[in-house]
């Protein structure tokens, strides 16, 4: 019991969890306030158990990956107790909301509450399974969020709520069966051996740049032996020849070197890039059928994409280029990134125009949806957004996830405001304002780059940064 309690202390020692508690608390209050509205709000905490299970399992896994924990007496046995006790406690709290469900008699209330408890547990176990199954819980979190959003979009939460009410015995049996299975699965004594010192990224590591780099390096080492993604010889020849043609004291050699290291692997993996573009096209087709033709979001998403493309300023790898060479190379790279992203968006827009005559009208839940072509009126927007995002990324280069999260939140707000007040946003979209914003955003990037390249440390104090 003592070991379990010591592990439960992580729940308040881990400050990252306080944010999760705040969000869950707000959600609980919100759903309680609107509990008598029959739009499935009783369910709001149940699916959140997916994320909670992911977090709690991630917490437990993090400790198991640390070599010191391997020899801790009694620690392995506490894994499933820790996870189950948290799942049971939070599922119990979630199920209490169903006590407020209207028009049920006493016996039904008890049954429905048990059913809700088991449904919460099922979601919790799915989250736990995701955490154990995926080496990167951060991607698991993204999957979970998308799953929940998708389910909400298709009103699956209403379906789930009705299932809990109408078929409680089924849910209870399912919940008990899942719990027994997971209890046995987590009791496998090999978990400690499998997880000890294995490269993993937990939910709380997505803020940690060093950890992410270390994970990437160790996964590369494991993956590379069977990896079919190698730098193509023609790519190497192309760039090295161009580097050799430039004067070794001029910036040209470093610019070509920067292009090589940034795009070399992508050019070698052109098939993968092509399949990614096809996925993007599929998403565009989906968005094109939405009521307002929400393909405009693509132009904003260009900024989010670029958060994963850092400029090669902060590198401790020694080549003969100095700070000026890094600055010039970074400007050129920022320009090429903007051109390539804009070219990709233009291609998508042209494709949508080409597809428009052949795309059928479809009916979803009695509503007729027509295909809207992607408008190019916001084409200049990526050229405005990308420099700002790159500059932001440079300023907080040690916390890439913070950049990603901040940019995603900001663009969501812009998107929402755009739909909330399209006239106001429409008034801003005129040639003068766009050109001014374009010049301003590139000026900001140049100033930030210049400052960082010429005046700041290029590496941090930690291992590589």
């Amino acid at each position: 019991m003592r070991i379990l309690i010591v592990n439960l202390r992580h729940l308040y020692q881990r400050r990252g969890l306080w944010l999760a508690y705040t969000i869950f608390g707000l959600l609980a209050l919100w759903s309680l306030a609107l509990a008598f509205d029959s739009t499935g709000l009783f369910m709001v905490l149940v699916p959140m158990q997916l994320i909670f299970g992911l977090c709690m399992a991630s917490l437990a896994i993090e400790i198991l990956t640390k070599p010191f924990s391997y020899c801790l007496p009694g620690h392995r046995a506490v894994l499933r107790k820790f996870i189950l006790s948290l799942g049971a406690a939070t599922s119990f709290v979630d199920s209490l909301l169903f006590l407020a469900y209207p028009n049920l008699y006493w016996g039904q209330w008890a049954l429905v509450t048990c059913s809700a408890f088991c449904a919460s547990l099922i979601m919790y176990w799915i989250g736990v399974a995701l955490a154990f199954g995926l080496r990167n819980s951060g991607s698991g979190l993204a999957v979970a969020v998308w799953l929940l959003l998708g389910a909400t979009f298709f009103d699956l939460h209403i379906v789930a709520e009705r299932t809990i009410i109408i078929y409680p015995f089924v849910i209870v049996l399912l919940g008990l069966a899942c719990s027994v299975m997971v209890w046995i699965w987590l009791g496998n004594p090999n978990w400690a051996r499998r997880l000890c010192a294995s490269p993993r990224v937990g939910i709380f590591d997505i803020w940690n740049r060093d950890k992410l780099l270390e994970f990437k390096r160790r996964r590369e080492a494991v993956r590379c032996d069977r990896s079919k993604y190698n730098l193509d010889p023609w790519v190497e020849r192309f760039f090295v020849r161009r580097m050799n043609r430039c004067n070794h004291l001029g910036p040209g050699r470093y610019i070509w070197g920067g292009l090589y290291t940034t795009y070399g692997m992508a050019l070698s993996r052109w098939k993968e890039i092509l399949s990614w573009l096809l996925w993007t096209l599929a998403i565009v087709v989906f968005l094109s059928y939405l009521e307002h033709g929400e393909t405009d979001i693509l132009f904003l998403m260009a900024g989010v994409m670029v958060t994963h493309m850092p400029l090669p300023i902060h590198s401790s790898m020694m080549i003969s280029g100095g700070r000026s060479e890094r600055f010039v190379t970074a400007i050129i790279l920022a320009g090429t990134i903007t051109v390539l992203v804009s070219a990709a968006l233009i291609s998508v827009a042209i494709l949508s125009v080409a597809l428009a005559p052949i795309m059928p009208e479809i009916t979803v839940r009695g509503e007729l949806l027509t295909f809207h072509t992607t408008s190019l009126r916001l084409l200049i927007v990526p050229s405005i957004i990308i420099p700002i995002v790159l500059a932001f990324r440079l300023i907080i280069y040690r916390k890439p996830f913070t950049t990603f999260a901040a940019v995603a939140v900001l663009f969501t707000l812009v998107f929402v405001l755009g739909f909330g007040s399209p006239k106001r946003i429409g008034a801003l979209i005129n040639p003068v304002s766009l050109v001014s914003l374009l010049i301003l955003s590139w000026l900001v990037l140049v100033i930030v780059l210049r400052h960082i390249c010429m005046r700041r440390s290029l590496v941090g104090q930690s291992k590589t940064y």
Partner: protein, 295 residues
């Protein structure tokens, strides 16, 4: 060998990160042809100091000038003369070893391909392996090749041998000994393996808490400290030994072992003669000297 003008000059260098002073008022001149051992505990500021030389860090106060150019303005003309190895330095993980060598060698017009081939053969480096799949020791060997392949005028080695096995470390030392045959080559080596370092250095810089405690030639440092074993020619040793500048003192089995500072062997022998004792004078290994200096 040593030019009048240092190739690296640091004056009043101060560097802080947040609330932590990493370097405090560092003054250091590095002359061409020196083989410098940069010693200090973890967190003493060694890596910080070395990174100023190549311009990765810029000082908050003071100045660092390398090859006549301030740290912030170093360009290909200066950096093309410096090789730098850091034990956990970044490499391009997605490239194969051969591709990485070709990429880096493109930046240096004086890349020595014969040296590259010899090194690859001696260190058994697999050209087809992906950099990301290399063990720490293999990565370190590759990093060393990338630093020495163009025969730099100044070679900065920050914990270069920490991940090498003893055989590889021995070969690395032999390589360094070959490199220092070029009288104009400057090497700065920061390492905790002092037994290796003392075989090659001729100058010592000892740091602690961001400050330089000692900056002198290795011979001078060795001559400063002596370990003296004293045994009486007849009877017991006197209770008080009249040697000057004793910093450590141990007695056992009728013998005494003392460590003295700033006392010449002649002075020690004279004192021993007066005491009617026999003395055996030895120089201290670098590790012992280092412990005394930093304590």
């Amino acid at each position: 060998m040593n030019d009048a003008n240092p190739i690296v000059r640091m004056q009043g260098l101060r560097k802080w990160f947040g609330g932590t002073d990493a370097l405090r008022d560092v003054d250091l001149d590095i002359h061409a042809g020196s083989i410098i051992g940069l010693l200090g505990a973890n967190g003493a500021g060694k890596s910080t100091l070395l990174r100023h030389i190549i311009g990765l860090y810029l000082p908050n106060k003071g100045k660092c000038v390398t090859f006549g150019c301030e740290a912030g303005k170093l360009g290909p003309a200066q950096l093309g003369r410096i090789g730098y190895v850091h034990q956990e330095g970044e490499l391009l993980e997605w490239m194969k070893v051969g591709q990485l060598i070709r990429y880096v060698s493109t930046y240096y017009p004086n890349w020595n391909h014969q040296l590259e081939e010899k090194y690859i053969a001696d260190y058994d480096i697999s050209m087809g392996a992906r950099v990301g799949s290399l063990s720490p020791g293999q990565r370190q060997r590759l990093a060393i090749l990338l630093a020495i392949g163009f025969e730099p005028e100044m070679l900065i080695l920050d914990e270069p041998a920490s991940t090498l096995d003893p055989v590889a470390r021995g070969r690395f030392l032999d390589l360094l000994l070959q490199l220092i045959q070029n009288e104009n080559r400057t090497i700065i080596i920061s390492s905790h393996i002092l037994s290796d370092v003392e075989k090659i250095i001729d100058h010592v810089v000892i740091m602690r808490a961001g400050r330089i405690l000692r900056d002198c030639s290795f011979d001078e440092l060795k001559e400063e400290f002596h370990c003296v074993r004293i045994s009486a020619l007849s009877g017991d040793l006197p209770a008080e030994l009249p040697f000057e500048n004793v910093i450590q003192h141990q007695r056992s089995n009728g013998q005494a072992v003392i460590t003295v500072r700033n006392t010449t062997p002649e002075q020690i022998e004279e004192t021993a003669e007066d005491m009617n004792c026999e003395v055996e004078i030895q120089t201290l290994p670098l590790e012992e000297i280092y412990k005394i200096v930093v304590s």
